[in-house]
Symmetry: C2
Subunit: 431 residues, 2 copies
């Protein structure tokens, strides 16, 4: 009886998992060195939790189910932010500030699977809450950039595109979009690359943006400005520098942190979600061909919305699927990401065989990654080939010698005789 | 608006998560050094996958949902074994043998939450497939024991209780249980500690075990036998030693691996699940007061049942909840399991403040866990207190000196002057 896995989900065989661990280990390692602490929550939440932030519209994108005798709806988590907001709101008074959290949840969305988008995927979330000022935004961007750099990505491969909701709002209002239509306009602009031109123009018209004005918006917003050139940006969009002072403060911090060259301003970035309140940013592959690698921004009202106090907040999410595509496309996949055995124990005589299991148990108990052959052959050539195939760093050869073994470095071919009781010590010193 | 988390699930705040990571890191580290490779699968599967192994009875224990326009039922995974069997069956011919896999999935069961049992929990799974003989069973037991030893557990704290389905079956048949009732009898015996005596006796009677025979079963099976004493066991249950030869082979391997003192024979262990075929075992806290810490055994027919070839298989599962209870009860929880910062950067002058962000970015890019104060104070006493509170190993004090900083070891109080550009190097050498 064969039953397939659900479409849009993945099986992780050892090689796939080693790659997954390569990414999640780096996410975790970089987050921790930037002073973020790991958190997690349930894989499913009450459905209402997702409606608070996103309204009823989100329900069709969720895997939901009814339980508790039909009284309560639950849903697999499509994102972590509502769980984070619930957790912060719950303990807002007792948590040390700023709250610097990261998490690596698996998320589930009932979407049509396509390139860069699966029904279950991993997403790295980095959030900084309870700190006023643009250092918070800059520090989250620093974490993302430091992670990408760690994996070999350069500023030539990707751009961090930065925008600000209020600046874009001002432009839209000057162009005649009514205040009550601003969120719809953000949402429309966020989706324009995925829409047919005609559909986009029709929808824009409804929001008060005729062809001419969309044209003017494109001119104003589709230009990119390097960090350090906010003056030119203000001139181009006819806005006093006073109106971009948060971006200016962010610009200063990006320079102080040495990551200005990774970043640029692109007012075409607006982010679709209703809850963003200030700086927003996305990381894109330089050609812009793929989906955003990461996206985030400020959400200063969200903790309040979930029953907590008003609290400044900024953060981003980065999914594993688009990231893996980028690393593959740029040739940044290391040859071997699986753990290498420290030693492969082989027996070339009956007397040697007797010593395998006690030695294996001893080496492993002492922290060494030790493997052995399950075959009954005593053929040294075949066994050494097996050891090399496992990518072990050392082979340990047991023969008739009662108290010693041959320990061979499989990288250098150097071989020495070591007392059986001294093998763990020898390996620890020579690994 | 306050929305509670679903009952029986957990929020992992930083301290909870650090503890969770302490356990999962150890599971992963020990699995790897025993030569097991990590795998994973989807968080939900087609509902039918769970029925293959466990029948329709399992459906009420699952969180299930209908999708794809009502044509397909899915369920959150309540265990990993069906996914593993599906994955092995799918690639049975191309996978190198033996298959040695481990996984640390979160599992969901729609049960009433109680001590040691939640609706979402983590379970460590260790499986060895494609290898004939009792070395496979012994090696999985070795992994479990080595893990427990790593966390400070001793043979005085826990017992690995080993049994064999065929031996128990023989006893039951001699007592008059019909072959077709054997699985029901296993199931009943597995649940007897959770049942009222009367209910148990009533159910036993139905299977052909009257009061007198239940009594004889208890006498035969509730005695425990140390490893190395299978002869006494055979005598007590009136069985020729030939009939326990697999247990004898296992016994030899447990001695060779040096873990015989952790193990004992307890024919009262039968495991409820239908798919076990040979050796079965559970790990219990010595007093027997808690739920089993881990349980597993041989399931030689399962890969075949999932559409693969016939393949020997053995494995166990260990949940995080009962394990945490054990470690807490035995006082085996380390004081601090959260990552300690390597260095805490503080500025005690305006000129020093200017240097904080560039230094922080540099240290972190060089792999150091570096934190700094978000406060504006320049008070050295207060800032050093903050550094100590963070459990950082070093403090780095920036003052008016242009090219140097004071680096203070917060464990030893030793303080030295280091060039700004040399701080990362100094810390790497002295950590």
């Amino acid at each position: 009886m064969k039953i397939e896995k659900p479409k849009g989900t993945r099986d992780f065989y050892p090689q796939d998992m080693a790659w997954q661990n390569y990414i999640t280990d780096a996410w975790r390692r970089v987050s921790i060195r930037h002073g973020f602490e790991e958190v997690d929550g349930p894989i499913f939440e009450k459905l209402d939790l997702y409606k608070v932030k996103s309204g009823d519209g989100i329900v069709s994108e969720l895997f939901s189910f009814r339980r508790e005798n039909g009284t309560t709806d639950f849903a697999l988590r499509p994102e972590f932010t509502p769980t984070l907001a619930r957790m912060v709101a719950d303990k807002a008074n007792s948590l040390p500030k700023p709250v610097k959290w990261f998490t690596i949840p698996n998320l589930c969305r009932a979407e049509r699977p396509q390139r860069g988008r699966l029904r279950e995927f991993l997403q790295w979330n980095v959030d900084l809450l309870g700190l006023e000022g643009e250092l918070a935004d800059a520090e989250t961007i620093l974490v993302a950039v430091d992670f990408l750099r760690e994996l070999g990505v350069t500023p030539e491969h990707v751009r961090v595109k930065i925008s600000h909701r209020d600046v874009v709002r001002n432009i839209l209002i000057k162009l005649g979009v009514a205040e009550e239509n601003i969120l719809d306009a953000f949402n429309l602009l966020d989706r324009r690359d995925k829409m047919e031109v005609e559909d986009f123009e029709k929808a824009a018209m409804k929001l008060g943006l005729d062809e001419h004005r969309v044209q003017r918006f494109q001119e104003a917003c589709r230009s990119r400005y390097r960090t350090g050139s906010l003056g030119s940006l203000c001139k181009a969009i006819g806005m006093p520098e006073e109106d971009v002072k948060e971006l200016q403060e962010l610009d200063d911090k990006l320079h102080a942190l040495g990551i200005a060259e990774w970043c640029e301003y692109d007012l075409g970035i607006v982010r679709g979600l209703a809850y963003y309140t200030g700086v927003v940013y996305e990381i894109h592959e330089s050609s812009g061909a793929e989906r955003a690698l990461a996206g985030g921004g400020r959400y200063d009202n969200l903790i309040n919305l979930f029953g907590g106090p008003k609290m400044p907040a900024v953060g981003f999410g980065m999914g594993d699927v688009v990231l893996s595509n980028l690393l593959r496309d740029k040739g940044l996949i290391p040859e071997n990401v699986a753990p290498r055995p420290d030693v492969y124990v082989i027996a070339v005589s009956d007397a040697g065989s007797e010593k395998v299991l006690p030695l294996i148990a001893d080496l492993r108990a002492k922290g060494l990654h030790a493997r052995f052959s399950y075959k009954t052959t005593k053929n040294m050539g075949r066994l050494l080939k097996e050891a090399v195939g496992s990518k072990a760093k050392f082979a340990c050869i047991l023969d008739d010698a009662e108290a010693t073994a041959q320990v061979k470095n499989l990288d250098t071919q150097e071989q020495v005789e070591v007392g059986i009781d001294e093998i763990a010590k020898y390996l620890h010193e020579n690994l």
